[in-house]
């Protein structure tokens, strides 16, 4: 019996929710009580959103455990874990104050603007470096595959940079052809097979055949 509500019922819930979503997409308002903000589908979407929002605590617990472990074991990284804990606690208190009183204290705004967004931007841009070295290695014409990659890439590069058209008026012409036509077969194939793969995967999951992620052998 316990197996039923630990396993089968879970799969059934997954399947039913998915089915409601699909019916909503295809039949929309034609089924009374299904669509719109008051309908079952809309309700379920709101539920999913709320569950998703509530999950962050689990992550926080994991992260705090990881750092607590490092501090209690007195590893080399313990000092950084202490920095983490102190800063986290400080900011969380400021945030909670804002949440309950509606008053945003200046330190919170300051950290948000100068630490949080600034580090976010910095990390987002760090990819520039790695893309450079990745291109340096990937764009070597070791074989036909790599040579094609190289040609496509270089023409697009020179079409994107204004200096390309100064060097030769053909660069933007050819580069844009790669952008608008040359890459389309491959990109379209990705789009189509990705959708097909998702269909098959989704179908297996719906009928309870694909449950590796529920940690069960299929």
């Amino acid at each position: 019996m316990s197996q039923v509500y630990k396993r089968e019922l879970v799969f059934i819930v997954t399947g039913v929710v998915a089915l409601v979503m699909m019916l909503d997409y295809f039949f929309g308002k034609n089924i009374p009580g299904l669509s719109g903000s008051g309908g079952i589908a809309g309700q379920l979407q709101t539920w999913a959103l709320i569950i998703q929002l509530m999950a962050i605590g689990l992550g926080a617990i994991n992260l705090i455990q990881v750092h607590y472990r490092q501090i209690s074991r007195k590893t080399d990284m313990a000092i950084y874990s202490i920095i983490f804990m102190v800063f986290f606690a400080f900011l969380l208190l400021l945030g909670l104050y804002k949440l309950f009183t509606g008053v945003e204290l200046y330190p919170y705004t300051w950290v948000f603007a100068n630490v949080y967004t600034s580090l976010g931007t910095t990390l987002y841009a760090i990819t520039g470096f790695f893309v450079f070295s990745a291109a340096y290695r990937a764009f070597r014409a070791r074989n036909v595959d790599a040579a094609i990659l190289l040609i496509g890439g270089c023409f697009v590069l020179l079409a994107n940079a204004p200096i390309g058209e100064v060097l030769w008026s053909g660069f933007p012409l050819i580069g844009n052809w790669f952008n608008n036509v040359g890459q389309i077969p491959g990109m379209r194939a990705f789009t189509v097979v990705g959708a097909l793969g998702l269909l098959a995967y989704g179908f297996r999951a719906l009928i309870g055949k694909e449950k590796g992620f529920y940690s069960e052998a299929s």
Partner: protein, 287 residues
């Protein structure tokens, strides 16, 4: 090994050397602008043509789905678009389904257009800013049918019902088109849920069109949607924004950034050439 050639050394060169050169090449051109001319690509042109179809009083949506972290590539196009919407006499709804730091982005847009647009526009009548709401595609689906269900008030705290601009607007059908600024897939959410979504629209409303003005990286992925007609325009990153700036006649940060882009791209192409010459040279040696 004593017989190391220059090519062997180059192949084994510390990548940090490249990183330093790259960073300097990206930074220096800001101090000595070159101002190279640029040609407008068709996808940017059709985006601009779309903007030109806005009639006075028509409402369009700016969906900020890119964060402060993507300002370098995304902000200029948003600035130019808002400017053009104002030029056309259109009205603007702004929200974000992507990033919680959108307030800073919107504030920056208002700062940059303070003298051009926002001396003239009245908040609540000509534009309204709703801020961030999480939930991604689910949220886009909810917004399609019932904007008030998601945004009960704007960021100033004024109830949506009391905003003059929102008087007749509660679903996607009243919005002419979506200008989506993305670092991810939000434009596809709008295509799936708004343009192709369940047609729940009250009355005879038409599903709104979608335009993309995200990061340049999205260009390849979005090109298939642009060609299939799901997107009416596509502004790709700072380069696309520089083209747009030229079209709307507002020189901004994208135009300035193009010099850095030129220098760094040439650097990369040179590095690639070097890598290939090196590879072929050493290959010949081994034979």
């Amino acid at each position: 090994m004593s017989g190391q050639t220059i090519w062997d050394k180059l192949a084994r060169m510390d990548r940090r050397v490249f990183y330093w050169i790259l960073f300097i090449c990206l930074t220096v051109p800001y101090m000595t602008p070159l101002g190279l001319p640029i040609t407008v690509t068709p996808s940017t042109r059709s985006y601009y043509d779309g903007l030109k179809t806005i009639q006075p009083g028509e409402v369009v949506l700016l969906s900020i789905n890119s964060g402060v972290s993507a300002w370098g590539d995304c902000l200029p196009a948003m600035v130019a678009s808002v400017y053009q919407v104002h030029e056309q006499g259109g009205k603007l709804i702004v929200w974000s389904i992507g990033y919680n730091d959108c307030d800073i982005t919107w504030a920056r847009i208002k700062t940059l257009l303070a003298t051009n647009v926002f001396t003239d526009w009245v908040e609540g009548e000509d534009y309204v800013y709703f801020g961030y709401c999480p939930g991604q595609e689910t949220n886009v689906a909810l917004l399609r049918d019932n904007i008030r269900g998601v945004y009960t008030k704007d960021v100033r705290g004024v109830a949506t019902d009391d905003i003059p601009l929102m008087e007749d607007i509660n679903d996607a059908s009243k919005i002419k088109f979506v200008m989506s600024s993305d670092t991810g897939d939000a434009q596809i959410y709008y295509i799936r849920q708004w343009k192709n979504g369940p047609v729940n629209y009250v009355g005879s409303g038409q599903p709104p069109l979608v335009a993309e003005m995200g990061i340049a990286m999205n260009k390849s992925g979005d090109m298939v949607y642009y060609l299939s007609g799901d997107e009416f325009g596509l502004v790709a990153g700072s380069r696309g924004a520089a083209e747009l700036e030229a079209l709307v006649g507002l020189k901004g940060n994208a135009t300035i950034t193009m010099d850095s882009i030129s220098v760094s791209h040439v650097l990369l192409v040179l590095a690639i050439i070097l890598a290939n010459v090196g590879m072929f040279a050493t290959r010949g040696q081994k034979k």
